[in-house]
Symmetry: C2
DNA sequence: AGGATTTTACACTAGGTAGTTTACTTTTGG
DNA sequence: CCAAAAGTAAACTACCTAGTGTAAAATCCT
C-alpha cells in the first residue's frame, strides 16, 4: 500500500507528460500547439497551465523525465584473465543497447528538435547525454595498462568505436531514415566492431 | 564580355537566395519569416514573392542551388600497382573533403531542419545526398576483386569507413557541437581510418 | 524620350499560437 | 457534509505569419 495513492492531480500531470512525449516526438515541438496537446491529453488547456507554467517549462520537464528513464547501463569491468574480444564485444553490446534504445533516441530527438538552433544549449545537452561514452573509455584504459592493447590513443580509440556504433544504430534512427536495430543486428554490429578494432590495436 | 550582364532582377534574386541561405542556416527555416528575410535581403517582400511563388518554393530552390554547389568530388580509381594504404588514404581524404565541406554541411543543415518531421521526404533527400558514398564502394570492389582485401563485405566495409569519417567530421558539425576540421585534422582522420580498416581487411 | 517591366511601401486578409480570464462544475479530504 | 482544491469550456488578448492587392516610383530597353 505504501505506493498507492496517485491523486487525480498526479494522474492529470502524467497524462499531460505522456501526451507531450507522444506529440513532440511524432509532430515536433514547434508543430504541437498547447491546444492540441491539451486535447490529446484529454485535459483542459487551463489544467496544462496549472501544472506547467509555460510550454518551455513543459519541454524541459519532459526532457528531464526522459533523461531519467533512459539513464542506466553497464557492461562490466575489465578482467585480466578473460578473452579480449569476448569482453569488448559484451561491452560494446551493452553500449549499443543503451544508445540505440527507443527511450534514448526519442529523448535525443526531442532535444535536437528543440535545440537545433541553439548550438550552445545543444552542446551542453550533448555533454550530459554523452555520459554513456565513459564505460568503454574505462575499459580501454584498463586493457592498455595491462599491456594487451598497443598503439592506442584512448580518446581516439573510444571515438572510433562510438563512431562505428552510432553511424549504424543512432544517427540514422535519430533522423528516422532507418528502423531500430533488432537483437541480432545489434549483436552482429558489436561483433564486427570489436573485430575491426582489435585487428588494429591488439598487442 | 560573354558573361557580363546580370540584370537588376537577377541581382535581386541572388540577394534573396543569399539572405535565405544565411537566415535558414543561422535561425532555421521555421524561425525565419518572409518579412525578416525580405529585410535581410534588402528587398521588398513583394519582390520576394515576385521571384518565388511561396516560401516552400524558395526553400526547395535554395536547396537545389546548394546541392549543385556542393556536388563534385573524386579521389581517383583503383590502381593495381600502387600501395593500398596510400590509395585508400587519398580516397578517404577526398571523401572527407566533400562530406565535411561547409557547403555540404550547410545544405544538410537546411534539409534536416526542413525535413526533420517528414521522415519520408527526408529519406528521399538522404538518398540524393549520399551519392557520395559510391566512390569508396567502387574502389573496395576493385581492390577485393584484385585479391588484395579479404573477408570483406563491400556494403559493411564501406559503411564502416563512412561511419568512422562522419562520426568525426559530419554529424557533430551538422549539429554545430564541433567546428569544421582543418586540413591537418582531415589528413590525420583519413590516415588512421585507412590504417584501422586495412589492419583488418588487408589480404 | 517613352513605354514596358520591376521594385517598393503599405495596407490588408485569413489564420494560427501562447497564455489569461471568467464563471461554473467536479473531486477531495478532514 | 461541506469548504477548499482542482478541473472545465469558452471567450478573449496580443501577437505573429504567409500571402495578396494596389498605386506610385525607379529602372530598363529601344
Amino acid at each position: 500500500m505504501s505506493e498507492k495513492k496517485p491523486t487525480r492531480s498526479e494522474l492529470k500531470r502524467q497524462a499531460i507528460l505522456r501526451a507531450a512525449k507522444q506529440a513532440f516526438q511524432e509532430r515536433g515541438v514547434n508543430n504541437t500547439s498547447m491546444d492540441e496537446l491539451a486535447a490529446l491529453a484529454e485535459v483542459s488547456k487551463r489544467t496544462v497551465y496549472n501544472h506547467f507554467a509555460s510550454k518551455e517549462v513543459l519541454i524541459i520537464t519532459l526532457m528531464s523525465e526522459l533523461w531519467r528513464q533512459a539513464t542506466q547501463c553497464d557492461g562490466g569491468d575489465y578482467e585480466a584473465d578473460t578473452d579480449l574480444k569476448l569482453q569488448l564485444c559484451k561491452l560494446i553490446e551493452a553500449e549499443i543497447a543503451a544508445i540505440c534504445s527507443r527511450e534514448y533516441i526519442e529523448l535525443n530527438r526531442v532535444a535536437f528538435d528543440y535545440f537545433f538552433h541553439q548550438p550552445e544549449a545543444l552542446r551542453q545537452q550533448m555533454e550530459k547525454f554523452s555520459a554513456y561514452e565513459t564505460s568503454i573509455t574505462r575499459w580501454l584504459k584498463a586493457a592498455a595498462a595491462d599491456g594487451r592493447l598497443r598503439d592506442l590513443d584512448i580518446e581516439i580509440g573510444s571515438k572510433q568505436i562510438h563512431n562505428l556504433i552510432k553511424g549504424s544504430c543512432f544517427w540514422p534512427q535519430l533522423m528516422q531514415v532507418n528502423p531500430l536495430l533488432d537483437q541480432q543486428e545489434r549483436h552482429m554490429l558489436a561483433e564486427r566492431t570489436a573485430a575491426l578494432f582489435l585487428s588494429h590495436y591488439r598487442a
